[in-house]
């Protein structure tokens, strides 16, 4: 080895990640229930700006419920109740006077199945800006969003064509373009690649790496290797069964991704990531 070469820490945060961490979400003792069923409880964690934070865990551990709490997506669900606090830049997301629309403008969401509107590619991306009255320079805004979602080169000659003619991977990137067209700060992604083939999955993962320069990303995934590939921080949720035999999801471990996948602190995390659970 040449004497000038320094050892490389492959688990270190990538260069685009900031050296000092700024807290976007400060979650304190979160508990979310549907009627009498507790979906997730006792979650304390901070989510940092311009990082990809992954949430992993077995089915039923409450990871989707958790991420949906971050932009009040559960509000419309009958019987839903949330306790504890989610501070977004120090402001209580569920506090009085907080506008739900404003929350979702700043905190966008992409779902498991690509769900483009049955409209043109252009209109899909332009839809939210129009609703919010952001009509100025709309063409530029649409192009910027499509470029941001790494889709522009593939669709620039057919913007007026139906979005439904796009492939699954393209549709998902269109949904990401639609989410970023209104320039949110945070993107929540709930299993964004689980319905996609490996090539489309790779392009979404690559895109996430690029997007974190401008956005804070939180991704729920059941694919542990995907979390290992894309996330700077990983939270492991598990199903915790209490004395009465009732189960609820809970946060077990939250750490830098490299640490979580090489030397997890909690036995339950170790068992889950090595495939020894159950």
């Amino acid at each position: 080895m040449a004497p000038t070469m320094r050892p490389v820490d492959v688990t270190a945060p990538r260069e685009s990640a900031p050296q000092t961490r700024e807290t976007v979400f400060d979650i304190k003792d979160l508990k979310a229930s549907y009627g009498s069923n507790v979906a997730v409880r006792s979650v304390d964690m901070e989510i940092y700006r311009n990082l990809v934070t992954a949430v992993i865990g077995p089915s039923g551990c409450g990871k989707s419920t958790f991420i949906r709490c971050l932009n009040r997506m559960n509000d419309e669900v009958p019987g839903f109740r949330q306790d504890g606090k989610i501070l977004y830049h120090g402001i209580d997301l569920y506090g009085d006077g907080v506008d739900q629309i404003e929350v979702r403008r700043r905190i966008g969401m992409v779902f498991q199945r690509p769900n483009p509107f049955p409209k043109s590619i252009y209109d899909n991306v332009a839809w939210a800006p129009r609703i919010l009255g952001l009509r100025k320079n709309l063409d530029e805004r649409v192009e910027k969003a499509l470029r941001g979602a790494a889709l522009w080169d593939e669709v620039k000659d057919r913007l007026k064509k139906s979005a439904l003619a796009l492939s699954g991977g393209q549709q998902q990137r269109l949904c990401i373009a639609r989410a970023i067209a209104i320039e949110p700060e945070v993107l929540l992604l709930d299993e964004p690649a689980s319905a996609l083939d490996p090539i489309a999955t790779a392009s979404i993962e690559e895109l996430m790496h690029d997007l974190k320069t401008d956005y804070t990303l939180v991704i729920v995934t059941h694919n542990m290797q995907q979390a290992a590939r894309v996330a700077d921080r990983t939270a492991f949720f598990s199903l915790d069964v209490d004395e009465s035999g009732r189960g609820a999801g809970t946060l077990v471990e939250y750490d830098d991704t490299g640490k979580l996948f090489t030397a997890p602190s909690d036995k339950r995390t170790e068992d889950y990531v090595t495939g020894r659970f159950g």
Partner: protein, 225 residues
């Protein structure tokens, strides 16, 4: 529970222990050949190294396949990485035994110095002991035992230094000059086997603690654990 994955891990570890016993056999053969000027046995040792190499390559291929197919993480990942290193250290030890056998053949008809021959045998026994401790600490996941290799290594290092001092005294004597000069390499070789045993201990510590640290650092000898 990934049953077949666990079986593959167990199989690889068993192969590694088997490689360890082959190394002990090849080293014992080399030491006996040296003591008894047994050229025939020295040739057997040299040929026997091929068996170690075959096993080494099998383990290497097994680890490669496991990494490609199973993407081990956490303790599994550390175990696979530790096995990758331990495999290499064991293979090098067998190569050193071959060096001893080759030197034995070169001095078959040359006068030896009995006290030095005796001290080489003692160093050889220490090296064997270190290999056993290294393999046992791995099998038993025993951090304390792994760390004890540092003290054993200190003994073998000291013997090596004493050996060289004695060689400096004897080198002027024409009758034994060739033998002692060739035996400097054997002494050095046994000392190196000790170093590889310590390296295996470091891998065991990494497996158990998730932190890699050198037990001894040649450039900062005062910082021994």
């Amino acid at each position: 529970m990934r049953v077949s994955f666990q079986e593959e891990l167990d199989q690889l570890e068993a192969s590694l222990q088997e490689e360890g016993s082959l190394v002990l056999r090849v080293l014992r053969g080399a030491l006996n050949a040296l003591e008894h000027r047994d050229v025939e046995l020295a040739d057997e040792v040299i040929a026997f190294d091929d068996d170690v190499d075959v096993l080494y390559l099998q383990i290497e291929a097994g680890i490669q396949s496991l990494l490609a197919r199973q993407t081990p993480v956490a303790t599994d990942l550390r175990l696979v990485l530790a096995m990758l290193h331990i495999n290499l250290h064991l293979e090098r030890m067998a190569d050193y035994a071959v060096t001893i056998a080759k030197m034995t053949k070169l001095v078959a008809d040359v006068e030896a110095d009995p006290p030095l021959l005796q001290s080489l045998q003692e160093m050889g026994e220490r090296a064997e002991e270190m290999i056993r401790v290294a393999l046992d600490s791995f099998a038993d996941r025993d951090l304390e035992q792994a760390e004890s290799l540092v003290e054993l290594d200190e003994l073998i290092d000291r013997s090596n230094r004493r050996f060289v001092e004695r060689v400096i005294e004897l080198v002027a004597e024409p009758d034994v000059r060739e033998w002692v000069l060739r035996m400097v390499l054997v002494s050095r070789t046994l000392e190196r086997i000790g170093d590889h045993a310590v390296d295996i201990g470091e891998q065991v510590a990494y497996l158990l603690t998730a932190e890699f640290r050198e037990f001894t650092d040649a450039s900062h000898p005062e910082e021994h654990v």
